[in-house]
Amino acid sequence: MKLIKKQIPLAIVFFFGVLTLASYYVPHKVSVDFMEMMNKWENIVSAFAFFLGLISLFYSHYHKISRKADGWGYSLFVYIGFFAMVVPAILCHGKLMGAAGQTALGWSFSFMYNPLSATMFAVLAFYIVSTAYRSFRIKSLQAFVLFMAAFLLILGKVPLGQIIWDSVLGWTGAGVDQVIEWIMGVPAVAGKRGIMIGIAIGAIVTSFKIIFGIERQYMGKD
């Protein structure tokens, strides 16, 4: 039992890991064909992974409704939303545009999914402003440096800010857009590149750990 529960899965991860890694560096037809097949497979497997999320969402809301838990009525709207997209999709075979213009699915996308999804993220603008007011504290030199970089970027990205800069600091001969370009192109690159190299090392080490079966948390407990 241990063989099929543990050792074969670990062999799979090693097998596919090493072959995928190797085929990056081997420009032979066999490796190219192998990658071609792997890519197709992966595409299909990851589509199934989506159903995991779907099933668990449905299950938790079904549970709420069947137990008549607090606010169970709202859970019904999860299903309403789902079918509001899926039923039109079935009717027009997943097409957004038809010969006569927008299909029913296109309509659901434009007037339901689009506003809902966009508004969810747009709300964050309000919180960023109130947080800026309440928690952006310039208490140390480091915080001041952070503030200056943010200040210049926020100011210089809009025409009105550029006008203000020109009228106050125009005598320096440098436009705020040039200052921003320098910040983004020199010190910010250094900061980001340091982070990037650090993350790359971490990711490579973790990947090796996964391939060699040292890191196996994703397999769950047994």
Binding site: V13, K40, V45, L76, G94, F111, L116, A118, A190, A200
Partner: protein
């Protein structure tokens, strides 16, 4: 699409937008409805995309044409779903290990060349071309190189940060702060752009050809909050009297 559908769409879009924004004032049932609809609609959208773009053409069609090879990834994919049955949930490991093995195998070479070697190369290369560079460009490339080294010192945890080591890593913090500051400035712009997008739509739907959807829904929300507030006050007073 007929005009009636356009108007209905405008009312729904404006309504859902206003409902979601209403949370900024106070939590309320309209917000909760819109929030749950968002969950469902998002899932529904993705579901149809997967069915019509992958499962249909990549699994079903080949199977109909007797291409049995696709059964292997399909079974690996199906194995993931056993997650929900505790007794046989170990079967899902076959799917997961395939995904992890493939992903790790791809991540190593890409991370190595793009984010590691290329970045070190990009830091050093300008230093080798100094003869043809302006003094300002030379200063900038030296500054980048210096900054990267300081930041790396900051991230190097194997040695205790003290003495000169601490000084260098402290300078690294300033480079990080500039990067974070720039990132914050850009975040502000990005979030405002999204909000602008929503407001722009609301403005569009406020036109007479959409029968003033935005104004009417907004007014409805305000009336709801006013009545709700008054009723709550009434309740509180009644409780106080009792």
């Amino acid at each position: 699409m007929s005009e009636t559908w356009m108007i209905a769409g405008a009312w729904i879009a404006a309504g859902l937008t206003v409902f979601l924004f209403s949370f900024l004032y106070k939590d309320n049932p309209f917000f909760k409805i819109a929030e749950h609809l968002y969950l469902g609609a998002g899932m529904g959208w993705w579901f149809q995309v997967y069915v019509y773009n992958i499962l249909g053409p990549k699994v079903w069609t080949p199977l109909v044409n007797h291409d049995w090879m696709v059964l292997i990834p399909a079974i690996l994919g199906l194995s993931l779903v056993t997650q929900f049955v505790p007794k046989i949930s170990w079967v899902s490991r076959y799917g997961f290990t395939f995904l992890m093995g493939y992903g790790s195998g791809l991540a190593i070479p890409a991370g190595l060349s793009t984010d590691f070697i290329s970045q070190i190369g990009g830091t050093i290369r300008p230093l080798s071309m100094m003869a043809s560079m302006t003094p300002w460009a030379i200063f900038n490339s030296l500054l980048v190189a210096f900054g990267v080294i300081c930041v790396l010192f900051y991230f190097f945890f194997s040695v205790e940060h003290k003495g000169h080591f601490k000084k260098v890593s402290n300078i690294g913090v300033y480079f990080l702060m500039i990067y974070f500051g720039a990132a914050f400035g850009n975040t502000v712009m990005a979030r405002f752009s999204l909000l602008y997008g929503r407001f722009d739509d609301l403005y569009t739907f406020s036109a007479s050809k959409y029968l003033y959807a935005t104004q009417i829904i907004l007014a409805g929300m305000i009336i709801y909050f006013a009545i709700h507030g008054l009723m709550n006050r009434g309740k509180k007073q009644a409780e106080a009297v009792n």
